[in-house]
Amino acid sequence: MTFRRGDRVIYDNVSIEVPKGKITAVMGPSGIGKTTLLRLIGGQLLPDSGDILFDNTSVVSMSRGELYAARRRMSMLFQSGALFTDMTVGDNVAFPLKEHTRLSDDIIDTIVALKLQAVGLRGAVNMMPSELSGGMARRAALARSIALDPDLIMYDEPFAGQDPISMGVLVKLIRELNDALDVTSIVVTHDVTEVLTIADYIYILADKRIIGKGTPDDIRNSDSALVQQFLNGEADGPVPFHYPAPPLKDSLLGEGS
């Protein structure tokens, strides 16, 4: 699959396989287009060439109706949570149920309570999103994204900007939800340590392509300099510290001095 934004190639012949019922992590430096990858899977963007298969059906060639039907089986946890700010937490979780099912209000209330219980926020059902801390907002959004019992959950940077406690909570939730609901999870992140503990399979993207893949152990023992730089957080290496620029001496003293 190849994807360009304008003239800039974001992905060049990248192939990723996400096994069913497992947690697959996609890691890579910031700005590599990891969120773009999730949007491609969700059919919000179309690749320039290649194909994206969801449950053996091509997302690329789906009609609008088919795409919307497929999206009911996938859900995405946005980096900001993307809760609707004019609704309470409970209404947010109930939203997909009210849109896509004909369940009675009593049953919806029960489902909402169960989903919020799963993320530990049943007590916050009547709070507004603005009253929640960042970690709570993300958990509320997680409850909303599992409301319809999807087959696939995509997490966009679930750990970014979280304190160690809420980070631990989220790690635990992602693992438990994956096992309890038997869903397929894709976690896009650059938090190395967290991912190595929960992922079943890891892809590392850099420079428009996959630079490393395998189980957490494969990745830890990888002999690729690029992968090691990423894992150990070294400032300089195959991914250079400096954004390409003419030599400093030339810039300061003028060309040819």
């Binding site: 039907a69 859900s75 609707f84």
Partner: protein, 258 residues
């Protein structure tokens, strides 16, 4: 050469934006409204219509009062102060009602629509609707559009009515114009189709333009603080200019060419 390149690029950009705006409106309206969306539209009518009532009523009252005052000082020199009623009513129904309402609506409700939709985009609420298989055009854009189309003509009518009462307050109650001539001359001069209906048609056109610009600017904004602030400003500027320009065209069509 650079100047020509710049002009060309700007023109293509503008044309493309008009195309996107058309597609957005088509996507929002090319579906039968669902019962659920009626509820959403009613809620938006409350937000953009009912909550604009205060500014519309106060402005209408004062504009009617000022017009009566100005009209009286001119008409009294010719002993024609009895025609104050038709003067106030015709100016309000034909011009000031629809135009000033549209300008106030652009500032009060249009800017709010742009900022709201822009922030929904910036906070990924629109994307998350899409990922939940809910079309944001139908869920977010369409109710706001219909709310604008329904609210603005109603607000313009209220504006004119309050203005006529304001004119009565100053002209009749304060300056002593005969109440009978204020009302009866108004009744015999103002024509239902020519004046009232034309005013409502103007108002409908302005509602379409202002609401469309406001929603599109929000939907098409660059989702950063700077982008949303720019989009909000553009909403007010573009829709005000469009209203004033269109008002001339509509007036020429309705009253100018006999």
């Amino acid at each position: 050469m650079n100047l020509f390149q710049h002009i060309g690029r700007e023109t293509i950009g503008k044309v493309a934006a008009i195309g996107r705006a058309g597609l957005m409106l088509f996507g929002a309206l090319a579906s039968l409204p669902k019962l659920k969306n009626v509820y959403l539209t009613v809620r938006q009518i409350y937000v953009v219509g009912v909550q604009s009532l205060l500014i519309i009523v106060v402005s209408g009252l004062f504009i009617g009062m000022v017009m009566a005052l100005q009209g009286y000082t001119i008409l009294v020199d010719y002993g024609a102060e009895g025609s104050l009623g038709p003067m106030v009513a015709l100016s309000l129904l034909r011009e000031l009602g629809p135009v000033v309402t549209a300008l106030l609506f652009a500032g009060r409700a249009g800017s709010a629509l742009t900022a709201e939709i822009g922030l929904m985009k910036a906070t990924e609420q629109l994307s998350s609707l899409e990922m939940m298989a809910v079309d944001p055009l139908r869920r977010v854009v369409a109710p706001r559009f219909w709310a604008g189309m329904i609210s603005m003509p109603a607000l313009a009518v209220i504006f004119s009515a309050v203005g006529i009462l304001g004119g009565h307050l100053v002209g009749v109650d304060w300056l002593g114009v005969d109440a009978g001539s204020y009302w009866s001359l108004m009744q015999s001069t103002v024509e239902w189709e020519k004046d009232v209906i034309n005013g409502v048609i103007k108002s409908l056109v302005f509602a379409l333009v202002v609401t469309w610009i406001a929603i599109f600017k929000g939907y098409d904004s660059i989702p950063t603080s700077e982008g949303i602030s720019k989009a909000t400003t553009e909403t007010v500027v573009f829709s005000s200019l469009a209203v004033l320009g269109l008002d001339f065209v509509l007036t020429a069509l309705m009253f100018g060419i006999e």
